[in-house]
Symmetry: C2
Subunit: 203 residues, 2 copies
DNA sequence: AACTGAAGTGACCACACTGGTCAAAAGAAC
DNA sequence: GTTCTTTTGACCAGTGTGGTCACTTCAGTT
């Protein structure tokens, strides 16, 4: 068989991926330690190099894995008919949060990818999976007539997207530092911000 | 003399601080290399351990330095009489950007500090320099009656602050990847967003 | 030019840790 | 019991570590 990893028990596979993501997100590629990865994953050195042939192959696997994981989740779970951008953004927040519950270091790891790849490179990889994903997610079927007249759509869109990205980062930090955050609390806060943004920018 | 560093030529001192900040922001404390630091700073190993006694002392120096540097700049340069929160936020953006031009890795390094200190610890350190700095910066002398009625002030404040933090992060990324960004362009974009936010949330 | 104290250097150290290997052990299936 | 697959971890040669200190270079004074 080609892919020795996919034959593994899912819990074990996730544990390995999370351990590797954590190590690679804390350190540069060179300084990330395969010893630490196997230790935290609870497997032996030999196994890691059996599943992946080398440290480099492991890193490349994680790279495409993390990009594909988010893109797939968004494509599959997003309600592409929702015309209200605020509802759609909420939808995306929930989807991303769901992925992050499975892979808590995915966001941090993705940021590391940025260090060696330009934004255009990254977009190209995303678009390889789903052509024009960026435009589609935030523009396809969106009803821009909901916005007030005479107002800069680009800026409003950024303000909305940034708001929820920052909220997500804050929650992720709190979760990482041990706090137990209920999904309902997040959903409520998202709704509160949606309401404020609606009052500000919608007709 | 006690502080061997302050006797140095300023350019040299800044070069050392920047080199150390960069190394410590790319790697965990343990994996950050003093060899790399002296290499990039253009000084010898002996000198580094002459200025600071140990790797740990160097790290501690950077920690208080970076916190103090931002706090001092804000306290000294902020117009504390400005009642318009949007103008005040713009003021802060410009001040931070100015500090970052001198120390480009300060923000990234500060994020590393978070990993080992809780948010409350950090606030405590800030407040040691300037009591109640957080409340003062965003609330002292601010005229909240500028806001629309019946709207959540906390949420609006966060939306505004987050918007400009995200903008700052984007600019920092672009600068780090080599782009030459003019200060005027940033100022213009800040103004554009201020206008949009004003239309949305002010009376 | 000669002297002096301070500032700066880099070869050197003992050692921790590296990515990767592979013979042997353990497990699975019959 | 036999055969095949999966897993293990001691082991390797090599790299890089934080820190030292005998030495050189420099700046100032006489």
């Amino acid at each position: 068989m080609k892919d020795r990893l996919s034959n593994l028990d899912e819990k074990k596979r996730i544990k390995i991926i999370n351990s590797a993501m954590e190590e690679f997100s804390r350190n540069t590629y060179q300084k990330a330690s395969t010893n630490k990865i196997v230790e935290k994953a609870g497997i032996s050195k030999g196994s890691l190099f059996n599943y992946f042939q080398s440290k480099e192959k492991l890193y490349e696997y994680l790279e495409t894995f993390s990009i594909r994981e988010i893109a797939d989740a968004v494509v599959k779970k997003l309600d592409w008919e929702e015309p209200d951008i605020l509802q759609r953004i909420k939808n995306i927040v929930i989807i991303k949060l769901d992925v992050c519950r499975k892979y808590p270091h995915l966001i941090e790891f993705s940021k590391r990818i940025y260090e060696n790849k330009s934004i255009d490179d990254l977009k190209a990889i995303y678009e390889e999976f789903v052509p024009n994903i960026y435009e589609k997610v935030y523009y396809e079927n969106i009803d821009f007539s909901l916005f007030k007249e005479d107002i800069e759509i680009n800026e409003i869109m950024n303000i909305m997207i940034w708001t929820f990205e920052k909220m997500g980062e804050n929650y992720l930090n709190r979760i990482k530092s041990g706090e137990r955050v209920k999904i309902d609390a997040i959903s409520n806060e998202v709704d509160r911000y949606i309401e404020v943004l609606r009052k500000g920018f919608y007709r």
